[in-house]
């Protein structure tokens, strides 16, 4: 059980990095774009509306080994022996693949939230700073980031909440395997409750997940309140 909790925490931390960090980077790129902004924004969002079943089936084929999937064929152009690399069935990479796929599917949601927050940063402030000789990086750190803070906190909470209960992608992509290396706590709970028919234990695990999510939400809120006071 603790192993699956560890996997989940690992996954959640990575999701914060990938989805909140990646979302922020994407939003900044989007705001700098010169043409076809709307088209790019709409297309980046595609993985979000595809069902996780369809996405996982796609990725299973792309990262397949027998017969070699798209990814390995591309890799073999760099080094021929890389065509046999295993991704989903490898003990070392299975959790990483789950992390990658989850991030890939959801990052655009947080891109959109950051993007709409970026639009609220007053133009006069950045313009004034530029006239005073501030560089782009300085403007971003000192003016844009503080403005994005509420969106940032909301996003971290949303991502944590989503990742702590992640079930779909682990079960569909790797079924928690090989040998439980990508098993999350929600998957463990589901197996205990429905496969082993331990209803009581399963319910206890479900409650554990609820309290864990609440705890993290409260911790993040507390942290944000405290850092605001300083």
């Amino acid at each position: 059980m603790w192993q699956s909790v560890g996997h989940t925490i690992n996954l959640s931390v990575w999701q914060v990095v990938l989805q909140v960090g990646g979302g922020l980077v994407l939003a900044v790129i989007l705001s700098r774009m010169v043409v076809f902004k709307r088209v790019f924004q709409t297309l980046y969002y595609l993985p979000v509306i595809i069902s996780s079943v369809a996405l996982c089936q796609m990725f299973k084929k792309i990262f397949a080994v027998m017969p070699p999937g798209l990814f390995n064929q591309l890799l073999s152009a760099i080094r021929p022996e890389w065509i046999h690399l295993e991704w989903l069935t490898n003990i070392k990479t299975s959790l990483g693949m789950v992390i990658f796929t989850t991030g890939y599917k959801n990052v655009a949601v947080y891109m959109l939230i950051f993007y709409s927050a970026l639009l609220t940063v007053p133009h006069s402030l950045t313009e004034a700073a530029r006239i005073d000789g501030a560089g782009s990086w300085q403007i971003f750190r000192k003016i844009t980031l503080p403005h994005l803070k509420p969106a940032m906190i909301a996003n971290v909470i949303l991502v944590m909440n989503g990742s702590l209960r992640s079930y779909d992608i682990p079960v569909l992509l790797t079924a928690g395997g090989p040998v439980n290396t990508s098993q999350t706590q929600a998957l463990y709970m589901y197996k205990q409750a429905f496969t082993s028919m331990k209803y009581g234990y399963g319910s206890a695990l479900a409650m554990f997940i609820v309290f864990e999510s609440l705890l993290f939400a409260i911790l993040i809120q507390l942290y944000s309140v405290r850092s605001k006071g300083e």
């Binding site: 790129i29 079943v53 796609m58 017969p67 949601v109 939230i113 709409s116 079930y167 479900a206 997940i209």
Partner: protein, 284 residues
């Protein structure tokens, strides 16, 4: 001064090129898997073996789609459509009325009711899976449309109510008051005056709910096990399990078939969907 300006504009031009290149690369990453899948669905088995994965299909081969629809997919489509439509209708009707009552009417426990719906956002589905499963099996609701519609509506309500609440917060009261003075009842004012003005927010909630319902996996996986009642998402999974392991063409065709309806909805209504998601997230 002249030189400096030139330098800045040159720097900016380089930046623009870099941004464009990066955005193209990102586009490739986010869109190519889907394009690859759709192309793959048009290839024959021989093509998969003889030519590299990224090759385009030599000529359009529709046999994979025939295979998909010879399987139960027609039935899965009907199931998913019925469920999605009922979920959307029920959610829109209920959440719009709840939000209207909370934001425009005066009654006891109004604030508590708002909090109650806000709290709904915090409930993870894991908590309800077991109790629902046990209850359903007692009242013989497993393997029915309602076994999926009820939890989907329940889990869709909190977010939809939030969206409607945000909309009603900026809704002008004058019209409703004028109608009330003219002797129009609350329910009549709601259907005749308020609903027509809610067009955009209704489309937003409806598209979001429709797509979530279409893609929903865990409830259907838990509550449905008869082949006749499966949704497209479940059907896709069982189809791949049965036939897709060796021959990839039919798998890609099945994936494409399940994704296309959401793509069509998204193509026309992406504006409404994105508006809803950012709104709800920043508020919640």
């Amino acid at each position: 001064m002249q030189i400096r300006r030139k330098k800045i504009s040159k720097k900016r031009a380089v930046g623009n090129v870099a941004i464009t290149l990066i955005s193209m690369l990102l586009l490739l990453i986010f869109v190519y898997p889907l394009v690859y899948t759709i192309f793959g669905s048009l290839k024959t088995y021989e093509e998969f073996i003889s030519s590299p994965q990224y090759a385009l299909p030599v000529k359009l081969y529709w046999g994979n789609y025939v295979k998909v629809f010879e399987n139960n997919f027609f039935r899965y489509f009907i199931n998913s459509f019925v469920i999605a439509i009922l979920v959307v209708v029920i959610t829109v009707v209920l959440s719009s009325m709840v939000a209207f009552a909370i934001s425009k009417l005066r009654f006891r426990g109004k604030r508590q009711m708002e909090l109650y719906f806000l709290l709904g956002l915090m409930v993870p589905y894991q908590v309800v899976l077991l109790p629902l499963y046990l209850t359903y099996s007692k009242i013989h609701l497993l393997n029915t449309y309602w076994s999926l519609i009820l939890p989907q509506v329940a889990f869709g309500m909190p977010f939809s109510v939030q969206l409607f609440l945000a909309f009603f917060a900026n809704f002008d009261n004058d019209l409703i008051e004028a109608a009330a003075i003219d002797g129009c009842g609350i329910s009549k004012a709601f259907t005749i005056i308020v609903v027509p003005m809610c067009r955009n927010i209704i489309i937003t909630v409806a598209t979001l709910r429709a797509i979530f319902s279409w893609n929903e996996y865990i409830f259907s996986y838990t509550f449905i096990n008869s082949k006749r009642m499966m949704t497209v998402v479940l059907g896709l999974n069982s189809f791949v399990g049965e036939e897709g392991l060796v021959d990839w063409g039919p798998t890609f065709a099945a994936i494409s078939v399940t994704v296309i309806p959401t793509l069509i909805i998204y193509m026309f209504l992406s504006k409404y969907m994105q508006a809803g998601l950012t709104e709800g997230a920043v508020k919640g």
